[in-house]
Amino acid sequence: MATPLWRYVGKRLLLLIPVLFGLSLIVFFIMALIPGDPAQAILGSYATPENVARLNAQLGLDKSLPQQYLTWLGNIFQGDFGRSYNQNREVISIIAERFGATLILAGTALVLCSIFGLLAGIISASRQYGLVDKAITLIVLIGISMPAFWLGLLMIMLFAVEWRLLPASGMFSIYGGGDLPDLIRHLILPAGTLAFIATGVIARLTRASMLEVLRQDFIRTARAKGVNERRVIYRHAFKAALVSIVPVIGIQAGFVLGGAVYIETVFQWPGMGSMLVNAISTRDLLLVQGGVLVIAAAYVLINLAADVVQFILDPRVTA
C-alpha cells in the first residue's frame, strides 16, 4: 500500500520541477517588463548617469535577459532573493518573518471553509429544494458576492467596535499577550471572514457533485442492499463526491491565499499579504518578487497535497 503512494508522491514531486521553473520564468519576465530603467527607478530622478550605470552593473542589469534570468535563478536556489530597497534587509529574512502569520491565517481559514463547505453542501444536497437547502443556498450566495474587505470591516465594526468582544487588529496583544489563547482571539475575526467568503465555492461544488453522485447506479445498489439512507449519503455518496471536491479545495487554497491579502490589510495581520501591499505601494519590487514567488510555490505544494489526498481516496488513479 505504501509503495504506490510514495511512488506517486515522488513522481508528482518530479513534475513539480517544471512547474516551479515556469513560475519563476513568469515572475522574472513580469518584473522585466518594468518600463524604464530599474536602476534609475531605484536611485530616483536626481541620480548621476555614472551611478545608474554602476548600479546596473551591480545588479547585473547590463547583461542579456536570459543571462540575467539564470543568475537570478541561481541566487534564488541559494535562498538569495535580493535586498529590500526600502527596509534595507534581505528579502528572504522579511519573508521568513512574515510567512508563518499568513500560514496560520490562511491555513485556519482553509480548514474552516472546507469543513463548513462540505457540511453545507451535503445537507443542501440531501434536502434538495427544502427550506434548509434554500437557506444554505442564500448564505452561500451572499458569501460569494460579498467583498472580503468589506465583510472584514463589518466584522470589526460589530465585534470589535460595537460589542468589544474581539480585538480589531494585529496578531497578538501589545501588552501581556503572546500566548495561544491570545493568538486565537486575534485569529477568530480574520480567519472567520476569510473562511466565510471561501466557503461558498466549496459548498456549491459539494452540493452539485453530491447530486451528481446520488444519481449514479452504485447508489441504487447501496439502497438495494438495504444500506440505511444516512450511510448512503455520508459514506457512499460523500466519498465518491469527495474525489471531485478535493482538487477544488486545492484551488480554493489559492483563493484563500489571495484573499489573505485583503484580510491582512483590513485586520493589520503581519503576514505576506500586507507585506506585499506595502511593497507594491513603495515600489519595493524585489520584495514583491520574492513574496509572489514564495506564495505561488506554497500554493503549488498545497495542490500537490490535494492530489495526493485524491490518490489515496480513489484507487482508480494510477501513479
Binding site: M31, S145, P147, W150, M157, R223, A224, V227, F255
Partner: protein
C-alpha cells in the same frame, strides 16, 4: 443536446426546440435570476443617467460639511471626511466600477477566447504550447498574479483593469478550448474545409457561433469577480487614484473612519454587494438556461424510495398467491409536464423455488417493473401510481421506509446489469459484501469478511481471499458480475431479482453465470425473477415466462409451452430472434419498427403498428388477456386456446 450545441446562440436563447421551454422563458421563470436582472438593470440605468442627475460635483470638497450623517437634506447619504457628497460619489463610483469591470471582462473574453479557439482548433504543438502557458498562469493564486502585474505597471485604475483582465484570461481560454476541441472533430468542420474555406473563415463562421454560449456563460460567471477584484485593488490603494473614485477606493478611504463614521464605508460596501449579487444571480440563471443538462431537471436527486401514490400505499390486501404476488402495477415518469407510462398494470406471481422470466425489448418496462417492486425507481421523475406488490402477505408498497430497507438485500435481493457502474468504485468488493451483511444483522467486521470470502468462493471466484481486497475496476466483467451475485446472496434471500445479469458478458461467461444462478436456486430453494431480452437464456433458466411490451404483459405461461406454441405475434417475433442451431434453416429475424412512445400510447393493441396480423378491431379498445389454458394467457384477439 447534439442539435442544441450546434444551434446559434440566439436561437438557443429564444428558440423553442423539441417543444422544450426556451432558455429565456426559463430565465424569467427562475425568480432569483429575474430579480438579479431587474436589480442589475436598475443599477446600470442609474449609472447611465448619473451625469444628468441634479447631483453635487463628486469631487467638490467642503471642509465645513465634513462627515454629515445620512438622511440629511441636501446630502441623502451624508458626506465624507472631506465634505464630499457620498450619494454623488457613490453613483459616479458605480459608473467607474461598472465600466472597469465590464471592460476587463471584455478584454479577458477577447484574448482568452482567441487563445482557446486557436489552441483547440489547431491542436498539437500550438495547443500544448498555449495551454502550458495558461496552466502556468493558473499555478498562481488568482489575485496574486494581478498584484504582481500592478506592482510592475504601477498603481492606477487602468493598470488594475489590465491586471484583472490578464488573470481572468485562463478561464476563457480553458472553457473555450474544451468546446472547440469537440467541435473540431465534427463533420461540418471537415465539410467546410473540403469546400475550400480557409482556417480563419472556418474559425469565424463555423466555430465562433458555436462557442459563443460558452463565452457568454464564462462572462456571466466572471464579470462579478472582476468587479469585485478591481474594487479590491482600489481598496488596497492600487487601483483608482484620488481624486478619481470607484466603489473600492471609496471603501478604502472610509476604512479609517469605521469607529467614527461607519456609513462612509458601509454605503459603497452595500453597493458592491448589491451589484455583484445581482450579477451572480443573473449569471447562475444564464448558466442554468444554457446548460441543457439542467433543463430537463435531470439533476434532481432520486429519493431513497420511489414515490408511491396514496392509492397504491393503502390498497386492500388480496389473498396471496405464491411468494411474490404483483397485481396491476402502474409506474409512471413525470417529465417536462408529460406522463410516460412505463409500467401499465402487469399482474404475475412467483412460487417458491420457481424461476419466472420477464422478457421484452429494451424500453418494454421490464426493469422498471422489477425496480418498482423494491421502490428503486429514481424518483423524481418516477412514481408508482397504483397496484400491489405482495410479498408473503405484506404489501411492499405500503410499508414504512425502514421496513422496506430491511427487505431490500435481505429476503429480497437485486442483481443489476452492468456491475462496473453498479458496484461502488471506491470500496473493495470485500468491503461492499461486508456492508451488505452488516446492514441486516449484527456481525463483527472480521467475521463478515470471512463470510464474504466464502461467498466469493461460492460464486466461483478463484483466489477469493485476495480478490476480496480488489476494487471493482481491477476485476473482469464476469468477475464483477459474480461479485454482484455474491452480494445478492449475502443474506440468504428468498427471492432474487436478476436484471439482465448476463447481457454485458461474452457467451462462455454468460453460460457460467446462468449455470451458477440455476445451481444457487436449486441449492437454496430461492425464487428467481429473471429479466432478459433473450429467449435462449429464458429456455436455460426459467420455468415460466412473462412477455412484456409497452409496459404490459402480452403473454405469460410455461416456457416450454410458449416456445412450442406462442400465442402472441410479438412472442413469435421474439422467439425467431434467437439463433437456433437445431433449426439450421432459421435465419435471424429482427422485428421491424420501434415500440410505441410511452408518453403517447395507442388506445388499442400497443403492438398493432408492428404486427403483420393487425385488423381493425385491434385498434378500437384495450385488448384483454385471453386465457389459453389455466397457466397460459395472451393479450391478442387472434390467440387460440391451447389444450
Amino acid at each position: 443536446m447534439t442539435t442544441n450545441a450546434q444551434a446559434p446562440l440566439l436561437s438557443r436563447l429564444f428558440g423553442r426546440r423539441h417543444s422544450r421551454t426556451s432558455p429565456l422563458a426559463l430565465l424569467v421563470r427562475n425568480r432569483l435570476a429575474a430579480a438579479g436582472l431587474v436589480v442589475l438593470c436598475l443599477v446600470v440605468f442609474i449609472a447611465l443617467i448619473t451625469p444628468w442627475l441634479p447631483l453635487p460635483d463628486p469631487n467638490a470638497t467642503q471642509p465645513s460639511d465634513r462627515l454629515i450623517p445620512p438622511f440629511t437634506t441636501g446630502h441623502w447619504l451624508g458626506t465624507d471626511q472631506l465634505g464630499r457628497d457620498i450619494l454623488s460619489r457613490l453613483l459616479w463610483g458605480t459608473r467607474v466600477s461598472l465600466v472597469v469591470g465590464i471592460a476587463a471582462t471584455l478584454v479577458a473574453a477577447l484574448i482568452g477566447s482567441t487563445i482557446g479557439i486557436v489552441a483547440g482548433y489547431f491542436g498539437k504543438r500550438v495547443d500544448s504550447t498555449l495551454m502550458r502557458g495558461i496552466d502556468m498562469m493558473m499555478a498562481f493564486p488568482y489575485i496574486l498574479l494581478a498584484l504582481a502585474i500592478v506592482a510592475v505597471l504601477g498603481p492606477g485604475l487602468l493598470n488594475a483593469l489590465y491586471a484583472i483582465a490578464i488573470v481572468n484570461i485562463p478561464f476563457f481560454a480553458r472553457n473555450v478550448r474544451g468546446v472547440t476541441v469537440t467541435l473540431r472533430n465534427r463533420e461540418f468542420v471537415d465539410a467546410a474545409l473540403l469546400s475550400g474555406k480557409n482556417h480563419f473563415l472556418i474559425l469565424v463562421t463555423e466555430i465562433l457561433p458555436n462557442v459563443l454560449p460558452v463565452i457568454v456563460i464564462t462572462m456571466s460567471t466572471t464579470v462579478g469577480w472582476m468587479i469585485l477584484e478591481t474594487a479590491g485593488l482600489s481598496f488596497l490603494g492600487l487601483g483608482a487614484q484620488p481624486p478619481q473614485a470607484d466603489l473600492g477606493s471609496m471603501l478604502g478611504e472610509g476604512r479609517r473612519l469605521i469607529s467614527t463614521a461607519p456609513f462612509v464605508s458601509t454605503v459603497p460596501g452595500v453597493m458592491i454587494f448589491i451589484l455583484v449579487m445581482s450579477i451572480n444571480l443573473l449569471g447562475d440563471g444564464i448558466r442554468d438556461a444554457l446548460d441543457p443538462r439542467l433543463k430537463a431537471g435531470a439533476l434532481r436527486r432520486p429519493a431513497a424510495r420511489t414515490r408511491t401514490s396514496v392509492e397504491a400505499r393503502q390498497a386492500s390486501q388480496y389473498e396471496q398467491r405464491g411468494v411474490l404476488d404483483v397485481r396491476a402495477l402502474r409506474t409512471e415518469f413525470h417529465l417536462d409536464n408529460q406522463v410516460h407510462r412505463a409500467v401499465n398494470g402487469p399482474t404475475f406471481s412467483i412460487e417458491a423455488g420457481e424461476c419466472l422470466g420477464i422478457i421484452g425489448e429494451s424500453g418494454s418496462g421490464k426493469s422498471v417493473t422489477a425496480m418498482s417492486l423494491l421502490g428503486l425507481v429514481a424518483s423524481p421523475p418516477g412514481m408508482i401510481m397504483g397496484g400491489q406488490v405482495n410479498y408473503r402477505d405484506t404489501n411492499l408498497l405500503g410499508i414504512s421506509d425502514n421496513d422496506l430497507r430491511r427487505y431490500r438485500g435481505g429476503e429480497l435481493a437485486y442483481i443489476f446489469q452492468d456491475p462496473l457502474s453498479t458496484l461502488h468504485p471506491l470500496f473493495t468488493v470485500g468491503d461492499q459484501l461486508v456492508e451488505a451483511m452488516r446492514s441486516h444483522y449484527a456481525i463483527s467486521y472480521t467475521d463478515a469478511w470471512k463470510k464474504a470470502v466464502t461467498l466469493l468462493e461460492e460464486v466461483r471466484i478463484p483466489n477469493a481471499a485476495n480478490r476480496a481486497h480488489s476494487y471493482p475496476h481491477q476485476l473482469s466483467g464476469g468477475m464483477r458480475q459474480r461479485v454482484s451475485i455474491a452480494m445478492a446472496l449475502a443474506n440468504e434471500p428468498k427471492l432474487i431479482i436478476a436484471d439482465e445479469p448476463t447481457t454485458a458478458l461474452d457467451v462462455t461467461v454468460q453460460a457460467q453465470i446462468l449455470a451458477l444462478l440455476n445451481r444457487l436456486r436449486d441449492d437454496k430453494g430461492a425464487s428467481l425473477m429473471f429479466i432478459t431480452h433473450d429467449f435462449g437464456v429464458v429456455r436455460q433458466v426459467c420455468h415460466r415466462v412473462a412477455v412484456m411490451y409497452a409496459g404490459e404483459i402480452v403473454e405469460i405461461g410455461p416456457v416450454e409451452e410458449i416456445l412450442a406454441q406462442p400465442a402472441h405475434p410479438y412472442t413469435r417475433r421474439l422467439i425467431s430472434c434467437v439463433p437456433d442451431v437445431e433449426r439450421k434453416t432459421g435465419k435471424l429475424e429482427e422485428i421491424p419498427g420501434l415500440p410505441p412512445q410511452v408518453n403517447n400510447l395507442p388506445e388499442g393493441c400497443k403492438f398493432a403498428d408492428r404486427c403483420d396480423m393487425v385488423a381493425d378491431q385491434c385498434r378500437q379498445a384495450p385488448i384483454e388477456l385471453k386465457t389459453m389454458n389455466e397457466r397460459h394467457q395472451a393479450r391478442c384477439i387472434f390467440a387460440k386456446e391451447v389444450v
